[in-house]
Symmetry: C2
Subunit: 486 residues, 2 copies
């Protein structure tokens, strides 16, 4: 047997840490043997004359280090040497966000909200990149500013000024896509314990940045006209908000767009309550029908709005460049965080994007995307009308990449997905987008990456699967049986 | 006068929020007038029969919204309309990290720890980028994986396996430079309230990621052999550590490198205490003298070490590509955070880096850098010996970019910097690198970006300024006077 454990109550080292250190030494020296059993916490506490919680705390540390393993009802055992010395799983438990891995493998992929992946601007990109390579590369290779690559930033500032989105006291920072802009905003504006309002359902990457920052994320319902502003007003009355994040154009996943009056109303609410507005304007410029609406940033006279944009939805998702416009005080703080996060965004891609803008090639490409998008939107809406089971509802967006489908109550989109994928079609189940309100029968159809013939084919397949299941449920309901769900 | 405030103690809306809403309405309707004074909290609390803290909380909200402004001793006043409706400065107070803006403007710039900015591999980069543009661009433009651009990741996995740094159960993720790898580790491993040990002094970007994640950052002194392992051991006895982050080769700012025995000792300590080790291996491959030491990751038999590398110190700082190797459980969690942070790193730069590796051009360039670095290191050490005031101490690194100088006690490197910059020479004062222990007389000389002639010239200038000041202090001390510091 090893020498008895000796604890010194006068030491500045807490008792549980003294105990932990001595037990650790014994375990590592093999005193308990391979897989040996440790005394129970009650037993050891009694023997040492200490509180049982002290022993439990020491055991918890040993377990976290992977030295022992607790088995409910059986006690604690020394882990076999050669096992990992750190129990990484235990250590990482609760360490923030979890991965999202869904869809994408099927032949007809309604799962990716990316317009026109078959319409990648490959030649435009190649030409612009070649032009960049003929120029001054030293500036590209040198360490840069957290605010972004100077020449691109100048160009964006100029354009934002001309557009009316950059106002007195505003500034602009380039980020690695919209996602990073949102993440930096989460780290800057969303304090642990604070509340951020978002649409419900919403793009999970938007929900997760604020949740990851420790904020409470409060979902506000979305109609065809965007966030339900009466619900937002009630929320504001109940709770102080750190910010409200909205996607006024072609919200992901619903495709909703806010009319002008709703935009103005939102700004009035935000002004009265002193709430910062984060405008996720990622689908900017991708309207296929109807009249363009001014962005919230453009309408804002009171420095409330922070606007986030990128080109990833212009079929350049691999080019991780986005930018943010907002009050200078905010942008300065974001730049501090940006420096901590990754110093600055990659220069080469920023230089190529600048050429894409300057040369007009991106605008030509955008027009091509809009023509294609219009036909695809039409195809998906026709497919919904023709093939979905009776009683289904779906949104009718005027741009962007997504239609939100609500199947009749009782159908579970997540369970039906396996059948759809077996038939070569994928989509994303509504659950993924839930903030508080789970819509089990809903699903997102992302249409912008598929040509109309594939859309029609995919909708036929989905329609058949959904209608058959709906038929089954209704038959059993009519027969007085409990509905069988898949 | 506006109608009297009415509070409903039975409402589920807290009293201070009811009061806040009613006062807000009155302010916005102009009831108090432009710049009008609100009742004191004592007065209003008495009038309403509520606790004074309730009124203070309502006022605090109004102030945060920018509707009122408090003046100490004078009371609270309505802000003039037209002022910003959100007091961004108030809202952002304490929102994490602050910017670091130092040095860089001077002709002889000892402030930037970047080897050979005059040795940028411009032609190698141009050639590789052109080769990339001749290939398949669709993969580059498409949305990618948070783990990184597939072909580069395969190449790095292969090389790490061959090198012995990638072991069974390990995985690899590509990040936007080392800085992002550290930031993701901060978000994953460093919990608020947890402790992370780092060298003291240390690169501020390393200290800030853990502090930004809410962890306590504990500084451990550094000698020529790296982190003081006895001090680390005492820290481990006192406190549970979430991780220890070390730079075993050419630590920034001291240039210290750990001998083999110290590396092994650190791993034993970490194993016994169950502490994760973050190896910041950013100066990897930049040794000018002495024998290469195996990395901690290579020596680690127990899955304790997470290794971070990049090419930014190979004179490609504008190319934001780094990578991390570590236990698969950790890498998976980092990938989740990476997706939240920016989805994935830019593809184009990853593709160019792969060509730089594959073509051997980066290795050729590295050899050139090492030749240059050796001459520069020699020049700065000679300059220190010749020009620094008597009693100065300085490190003697064998690689990397930095020498750490300790001027005689009484000289303040931050105050002297203004004089140096006026004479065209910059460096970074020691204070910037402090974790707990501030060394006011220390400074960092980054030599790798300057050719030997400029180094000698810069050291002459610094030596003159430092010696003159030191002479003054000694003279006044000998005359029995209090030392005048700048």
């Amino acid at each position: 047997m090893a020498p008895p454990v000796r604890l010194d109550p006068k030491s500045e080292v807490p008792l549980y840490r003294q105990l932990h250190a001595q037990l650790r030494e014994r375990i590592l020296s093999g005193a308990f043997g391979r897989g040996g059993k440790l005394p129970t916490t009650r037993e050891l506490a009694g023997r040492l004359g200490v509180n049982r919680a002290t022993v439990a705390a020491a055991y918890a540390l040993l377990e976290q280090e992977g030295l022992i393993r607790g088995h409910v009802g059986r006690g604690s055992f020394v882990r076999t040497p050669g096992e990992a010395s750190l129990d990484w799983e235990a250590r990482l438990r609760g360490a923030g966000v979890e991965a999202r891995g869904w869809g994408g493998g099927a032949r007809i992929n309604f799962a990716s909200a990316r317009p026109g992946e078959d319409l990648l601007p490959v030649e435009e990109f190649r030409a612009c990149a070649r032009e960049v390579l003929r120029g001054d590369l030293e500036r590209i290779l040198r360490l840069g500013s957290p605010y972004g690559y100077g020449p691109l930033r100048e160009w964006l500032l100029e354009r934002s000024r001309a557009e009316g989105t950059l106002r007195d006291g505003d500034d602009l920072i380039i980020t690695s896509g919209c996602q990073q802009a949102l993440d930096l905003l989460g780290r800057t504006l969303a304090r642990p314990g604070g509340t951020v309002a978002v649409e419900d359902p919403v793009y999970p990457g938007l929900r997760d940045v604020f949740a990851g920052a420790g904020a409470r994320v409060a979902g506000v319902a979305v109609s065809a006209d965007g966030m339900d502003l009466e619900a937002l007003e009630r929320l504001i009355e109940r709770e102080e908000l750190a910010a409200v994040a909205v996607t006024p154009d072609f919200q992901n996943p619903t495709g909703a767009a806010m009319p002008l009056a709703a935009r103005q109303h939102l700004l009035r609410l935000a002004r009265a309550a002193g709430v910062a507005v984060i405008e996720n304007d990622i689908y900017h410029g991708l309207r296929y029908e109807g009249a363009e609406q001014p962005s919230l940033k453009r309408l804002d006279e009171h420095r409330l709005v922070i606007q986030v944009r990128s080109v990833s939805k212009l079929a350049l998702p691999g080019l991780r460049v986005g930018w943010l416009t907002g009050p200078r005080e905010v942008v300065r703080r974001l730049a501090d965080w940006k420096q901590t996060a990754d110093l600055h965004s990659d220069h080469l891609s920023q230089a190529v994007l600048l050429r894409l803008f300057e040369s007009g090639r991106l605008e030509t490409h955008r027009r091509r995307l809009i023509d294609a998008g219009r036909r695809r939107l039409q195809a998906v809406l026709e497919g919904c009308a023709k093939h979905l089971p009776e009683g289904s509802r779906y949104t009718r967006p005027q741009g962007g990449a997504n239609v939100w489908v609500r199947l009749p109550e009782g159908l579970d989109s997540e369970r039906l997905l396996a059948r759809a994928e077996a038939a070569g079609v994928s989509y994303l189940p509504g659950r993924l987008f839930a903030v508080q309100r789970v819509e089990a029968s809903a699903l997102r159809l992302s249409f912008a990456g598929l040509d109309p013939a594939l859309i029609e084919e995919g909708m036929q397949v989905l329609g058949r699967i959904f209608r058959r299941e709906w038929q089954k449920i209704r038959t059993s309901a009519e027969a007085g049986l409990a509905p069988a769900i898949v």
